[in-house]
């Protein structure tokens, strides 16, 4: 579904990514892991379109998207969450979620301002779809009319996930979805991600530090270290890979569990 091939990314003299390739298969959960500074977030930013790599290509569902701006990639079916929650304050949970569907709607200033039938129908259908497909799935019924800035951290992360899902993306990029959560919240989030994969067959690409979550839900794992890929395979294969163990124990900042 998402093919990232041979990405080389450098900032001035600093090489962030050297020859990184990741293939996220359709309907599968692929994880990118690695010690801090391995280049995971840089990779995501390349995939999103914020950084232009010096070399390499990104293709979604067979279409090359390397030249597209971030907003065009959204229209192509790419959706993303952020490491530090990027919800829009001053708007309710429901409005934030509706923003996720921005590319699927068409109304402009005039059709919205004059409340033309097309615009009204669009909004109605969107609200119904959200109630039907998202609110229940992510258990957001009680908080849907609250302002996002009033919510607890774990809930905010869930709202961000909801927002990323509402456009029924072809590929869902999750940037550290369980960062800062306690174990109960983490297993809850893992459950939601698995449900999304089960019910909608969405392809997922995620970055995470939490090993138990990654090992627990991933179908395929890619390991980066200092911007280079050092291993790829199933959780069992990666867990046993000596290069991976060395990379982690060497820097000593992850506890593989």
């Amino acid at each position: 579904m998402l093919r990232v091939d041979g990405i080389h990314l450098a900032f001035g003299g600093l090489r962030a990514l050297s020859g990184v390739s990741v293939h996220a298969e359709r309907g599968r959960i692929t994880s990118v892991i690695g010690p801090n500074g391995a280049g995971k977030t840089s990779l995501f930013n390349v995939i999103s379109g914020f950084y232009t790599p010096q070399q390499g290509t990104v293709a979604l569902d067979g279409q090359p998207i390397t030249a597209l701006r971030p907003s065009a990639r959204a229209r192509a079916g790419m959706s993303r969450t952020f490491q530090n929650i990027a919800l829009f304050h001053g708007m309710t949970v429901l409005d934030n979620i509706k923003l996720g569907a921005h590319t699927t709607l068409k109304s402009g200033v005039f059709s919205a301002g004059f409340r033309l039938p097309g615009a009204r129908r669009e909004e109605r259908e969107l609200s119904a779809a959200i109630q039907r497909d998202i609110i229940g799935l992510l258990e957001l019924d009680t908080v849907q009319h609250h302002y996002v800035e009033d919510l607890a951290y774990g809930l905010q992360k869930r709202v961000e996930l909801a927002r990323a899902l509402v456009m029924k993306p072809k590929i869902l990029l999750l940037d550290e979805p369980v960062a800062g959560m306690n174990s109960e919240e983490k297993s809850e989030m893992s459950r939601f991600v698995l449900n999304v994969r089960k019910d909608w067959h969405t392809s997922v690409l995620l970055i995470e530090h939490d090993m138990s979550m990654v090992m627990g839900i991933s179908d395929h794992i890619v390991v980066l270290s200092f911007g280079k890929p050092i291993a790829a395979g199933t959780p069992d294969e990666v867990r046993a890979n000596p290069d991976v163990i060395k990379a982690y124990l060497g820097t000593g900042d992850e506890a593989a569990s």
């Binding site: 952020f82 009319h145 009033d150 919240e185």
Partner: protein, 343 residues
């Protein structure tokens, strides 16, 4: 933004309000009607600035100049083209929108600070044009405007002009509410809050900045057009920097990013000069001074104090104070806000 389930109650209140406003001229003295007309015009202008600055985060320090463009357009459309009000006013809006986009466009792609500078430049350049392009604007002497003709009736007194303004207010407020509640309105807030994230969600940032700026300037132009018919006179002095500060104060005091806030801010700010004048004259009278010469600088100071004070102390403005008051009266504190995730 209002909670969805309470929609019909709000509509009922709104209808009652409109009914009361329609009946108003029968119940109050003429001076109040004049005032209400002025307020109505200010409301439309403040809606425009609120859409640009409050919702989308594009600061404009030249809003008054675009109001001026609208006013001059109506005056000229009437005298040179003989257009009736229902063509002149939309034309005024359009002219202001084009002018606004013209000044703002180069800055929409880059950092917000540049747009601020561009709007300030617009304020001074347009004012310069109003004063010096004598052949068209008649310079400082200004242009007279004949009353608008509605079905053969000239709107030549406050009451008749008031009804036209009321109708426009209802229409333009509704339009604004509809836009804000739609995909477009959500995009505006997204652009203001986190533009990179908005891009990732597919929102074309530059396009929506353009739309917000054009729409806001259109509102300014319409307000200016109505002002021309209301005062029956247009001159450069009416559209200086102080008026831009006035509109900005209204948006901030009322509450940025809130339709109700725009209205409350306009009401507050329209009343304020009257209160200041009354206060200054009575204080002056008590002590035997003639304080009328300080009215203009007094306004500048008070407007500035309001801007600074509200931004520091209550950035969400009167609308927020109103919401808190209503909450305190009607509901107990909501216990559900922090549940749903163990912490």
């Amino acid at each position: 933004m209002p909670h969805a389930p309470r929609f019909s109650r709000n509509t009922l209140w709104a209808l009652l309000l409109v009914a009361a406003l329609v009946a108003l001229p029968a119940a109050v003295p003429r001076y109040w009607i004049y005032f209400a007309g002025l307020l109505g015009i200010n409301i439309i202008a403040v809606h425009g600035l609120n859409i640009m600055t409050g919702y989308t985060g594009l600061l404009s320090l030249g809003h008054a100049a675009f109001v001026g463009v609208g006013a001059y357009t109506v005056a000229l459309a009437q005298s040179r083209l003989g257009l009736p009000f229902y063509l002149a006013i939309p034309l005024a809006g359009l002219a202001a929108a084009v002018m606004g986009v013209g000044f703002g466009l180069p800055s929409l792609r880059i950092r917000g600070l540049y747009l601020v500078i561009a709007t300030l430049a617009a304020q001074f350049i347009l004012n310069f044009v109003f004063v010096h392009w004598q052949s068209v604007t008649n310079g400082d002497a200004g242009l007279t405007v004949q009353p608008a003709m509605v079905f053969g009736y000239p709107l030549n007194n406050e009451t008749r002009a008031y009804y036209l303004i009321l109708a426009c207010d209802v229409a333009f407020t509704l339009f604004a509410v509809n836009v804000i509640r739609s995909r477009v309105g959500r995009a505006f807030v997204a652009v203001r809050e986190r533009d990179r994230t908005a891009e990732v969600l597919g929102v074309r940032i530059v396009w929506y900045k353009f739309v917000a700026f054009a729409l806001g300037s259109f509102y300014a132009g319409v307000a200016g057009g109505l002002l021309a018919y209301f005062n029956q006179f247009v001159n450069p002095e009416q559209f200086g920097l102080l008026l831009s500060v006035f509109f900005l104060s209204a948006v901030i005091v009322g509450g940025m990013g809130s339709i109700l806030g725009a209205i409350m801010g306009a009401v507050f700010m329209t009343l304020l000069p009257e209160i200041l004048r009354g206060g200054a004259l009575s204080i002056g009278g008590t002590f035997g001074f003639d304080l009328s010469s300080i009215l203009v600088p007094l306004r500048e100071t008070v407007f500035g104090l309001l801007i600074v004070g509200f931004l520091i102390l209550e950035p969400r403005g009167l609308a927020q104070l109103w919401k808190r008051a209503r909450y305190a009266l009607h509901r107990p504190p909501n216990p559900d806000a922090r549940s749903g995730g163990a912490s």
